[in-house]
Symmetry: C2
Subunit: 222 residues, 2 copies
């Protein structure tokens, strides 16, 4: 499903260049449940954004479902994203002028699902995340952990082939985190590929494979 | 330092009212190191925002440094905040068009400290948080954990009487979290009152007192 070789990515800030991903190689089969761990600034989000076709890279190859992902125009990238990927952003990225239900329903709007059907499915996923009563709340009327759970429901609602989750339990207490990871495992059982960036080892232990990243390179993979 | 009795707070969403804090009572002496734990949506941020004079309440009394905090106009609230409180927001709230150094220096700008002096102090605190090399980065050129550490440095730079930190290690790996809490403990040694909202028990264990909140009321305090 995901084949990455010799991946290099740098950022330029002012007149310095930061080499963030260095000849990184990783292969993930369809249907795997994988976590990525590493310290703050080690390159986890950068890698996940590239896998999610949200950011470009400088050198190397990335194949997603046997399609080379390189120099794609924005409309082709958006089409592949909408068809294949559900993304939970580290900063949630909820739309401030839409309520929780509408935020969750958004991916289905892009897939041209009718309003009635997409709201029904959005409410079902809000319920799975324990937030049915908060469906009418705007993002600024939700707690940090509730916003994060809305972002998780949005990534799941279109039942994509791949779910990419960047620290999905960072704002959650241990009981709620446990429930969320159980939901990811349930989804994984149906054959969906799930990749979770986390810095909590009790979360990583509940996945089948743990990839460690340090200074932009994979240092362990068990 | 902080005396809160019969604190009640509700939010109105649409035509429903959510009673979020219910007759809450808590007293915190000057110089204490306290953590507040509770599940997602239990009222932690709501309580911290009231203590930080960032939000109003419906009933009860709140005394800060023997001053009644009730129905204050915005300029008096802002003056008290600037003089007494350093705040780490759960969503960081960095200013997007200023770099890391300028974001950290902001509280000193409000206290009319000269540009040269405030930038010197800002760089010193960025260094304490391991981010000196990232001083020129804009918030969107920082990782999630780096943004959180900039927000922490900003709360510390004016050496306020009270530091209120809402999940300050939520986006950090365990080593970086450990370093950050050591810094809070160092600051506490100088006599500053520190209150940390967290859902990580290994963080709470490193404070002197743990207050548990459930459904808007204090259920334990050890
Ligand atoms: N501006 C608002 N308008 C309406 N409801 C709100 C508002 N802010 C918070 N709430 C509600 O108040 C309750 C308490 O929120 P609060 O942010 O204090 O929770 P919390 O304990 O900090 O949770 P978390 O751990 O998820 O950050 C939640 O149910 C939330 O939906
Ligand atoms: N747009 C950008 N411009 C410049 N530098 C960036 C940009 N985005 C990230 N960086 C830098 O790249 C490095 C890796 O960032 P990344 O967001 O991948 O880290 P991370 O492993 O996700 O960390 P965290 O656990 O703190 O979220 C960091 O040093 C960061 O400062
Ligand atoms: Mg990250
Ligand atoms: Mg909160």
């Amino acid at each position: 499903m995901i084949r990455i070789q010799n991946l290099n990515k740098s950022y330029v800030v002012g007149n310095t260049e930061m080499h963030v991903l260095k000849n990184l190689e990783v292969h993930i089969q369809a249907g795997e449940l994988v976590s990525i761990m590493g310290s703050s600034g080690s390159g986890k989000s950068t890698l996940l954004n590239i896998i999610g076709i949200l950011d470009s890279y400088d050198a190397g190859e990335y194949y997603l479902d046997n399609v080379l992902i390189k120099n794609l125009n924005e409309s082709k990238a958006a089409r592949l994203r909408n068809q294949l990927i559900g993304f939970v952003f580290q900063s949630f990225n909820l739309i401030s002028f839409k309520n929780a239900m509408e935020n969750v329903a958004l991916p289905l709007y892009y897939q041209k699902v009718s309003r009635k059907e997409r709201n029904k499915r959005a409410l079902a996923y809000l319920d799975k995340l324990g937030l049915l009563e908060w469906a009418e709340h705007m993002p600024n009327e939700l707690s940090g952990g509730q916003q994060q759970r809305v972002a998780i429901a949005r990534a799941m609602v279109s039942e994509p082939k791949i779910i990419l989750a960047d620290e999905p339990t960072g704002a959650l207490d241990s009981k709620t985190s446990h429930d969320v990871i159980s939901l990811f495992r349930e989804i994984h059982q149906t054959g969906i590929t799930v990749i979770i960036v986390t810095h909590e080892s009790d979360i990583a232990e509940r996945t089948k494979r743990v990839i460690q990243i340090r200074d932009g390179a994979i240092i362990a993979d068990v």
